[in-house]
């Protein structure tokens, strides 16, 4: 867009484009190059603020190994990206991810970068969800902007 339009028009046009995208769900998709797996959840409740990469939770990987019920019933994960107040203390305590990621069932927490593997500043989202296609990807968080410290 920068290439084609003078800067004066850009802000106004961006507004129009956003509105059109919200209706049609087409235009904004062009601005979302990410093509991760359907159902990949990015969780960035605390990561950016804590100076670590956001977590990418691959649904497909876990679905191959466990039925939905194990996490969403037995472990108490709500059906909402970012809706579970997970932190490292709880995980170490065996709650949420920590029920398996304890070195017994799956890798334990010292392998930080296997879970905290997202691009810095990626907002919490269910990648490729219908809502994301209709409404658009949430804007990047502050730390994704140029010049932000990691």
């Amino acid at each position: 867009m920068e290439r084609i339009l003078p800067s004066g028009l850009r802000a106004r046009l961006a507004g129009i484009v956003l509105a059109a995208a919200a209706c049609a769900g087409l235009v904004l998709a062009a601005a979302a190059p990410a093509r991760a797996e359907y159902g990949d959840v990015v969780i960035n409740n605390h990561s950016d603020a804590a100076g670590v990469r956001p977590v990418v939770f691959p649904h497909w990987f876990h679905r191959v190994r466990f039925r939905c019920k194990v996490c969403h019933s037995d472990l108490g994960f709500k059906f909402q990206a970012g809706g579970n107040d997970i932190n490292m203390v709880k995980i170490i305590d065996g709650q949420f991810c920590g029920a398996c990621h304890n070195g017994a069932v799956a890798w334990s927490i010292e392998n930080c970068d296997l879970c905290h593997s997202g691009k810095p500043g990626t907002p919490t989202q269910v990648h490729e969800s219908t809502i994301q296609k209709l409404v658009g990807t949430p804007p990047p968080t502050a730390s994704a902007l140029p010049g932000a410290k990691r």
Binding site: I4, R67, S129
Partner: protein
Amino acid sequence: MRDLLAIVTCVAIVALPAAALDKGAGKATYEKTCALCHGPGLAGAPKYGNKAEWAPRLKAGTAKLYTSALKGTANGMPGKGGNLSLSDDEVKAAVDHLLASVGGASPPAAAAKAASAAPAAVVAAPAPKVASAAPVAVVAAPPPVAPPTAPRTAPAAPVATASADPNAFNRLLTAPGKRNPSPAEDGIHDPSNPGTHALQPPLTALAGMPPLNAGNRVNWVSSLEGGKIRPRWDRDDGAAAAVVMDLNIVREVKGSMPDVVYPHKQHTEWLDCSNCHPQIFIPQKGANQISMASIMLGQKCGVCHGKVAFPVSECRLCHSKKKEGTMPAAAVAGARK
């Protein structure tokens, strides 16, 4: 007259049958299809009548612009502006109308006028025109093409080039080679993170599972039924078996769509009753209002379908029971129960 006109423009521009259409048709097509984006300049589309925006594109030549309009561009313009019912000639006439607004090329009608007014010019016309950036303009002699007074800093080349991939304009489609990329290439994972490269690429896990044309591109339900995957029902006990309930719920729907058959069986293979009842669905016939709008906004079935279970694009996986009386008897008999 029509033949004469065709000769003029065919000589001027390679393959321009658009000449057969009058100015009004081009204008109508423009207003119906093109103006949506080229009017306000949506999504980077060069605006109608804006010479500065069109100047770099005109340099590529009118024939190139026709190609862009017909085939679409890498910048996001869909082929024929997304209206595939248009004929090539109609599209070209609309391009002529659009270009006339920036003085780039005259509409064919103007060319016709010029030709009829001065038929002698036609004879002499061909030679100098071929290589011109906007050849027809020479025939009709409107004001000459405005030089790019405010040239863009970026190269103009990609603007007019048609995409090599004929489906590139359709951003809802993913080419087979671009599905299931490895974590380092998926746009979500950070490739500079060492751990990213240790993660399992999706294809190594999903290969061999029955395909589906959406979601993870695999049919999870068939995979489970066919034993391609054996996900645990219990975190610790690998032998625990799912508590399956086999009960189909038929939901009659409005309109001509087939009715929905909700199979408890396939759901209870994966989920516990308490995952859905009573929070999402009240376990009582007729107690749940469900619409496609709410599903697409992540409610009811949309809590999972459209996020992790197959998305709403797969209409017939849910809308699977043909309405009786709307189809020939043979088709009804063949429909799934």
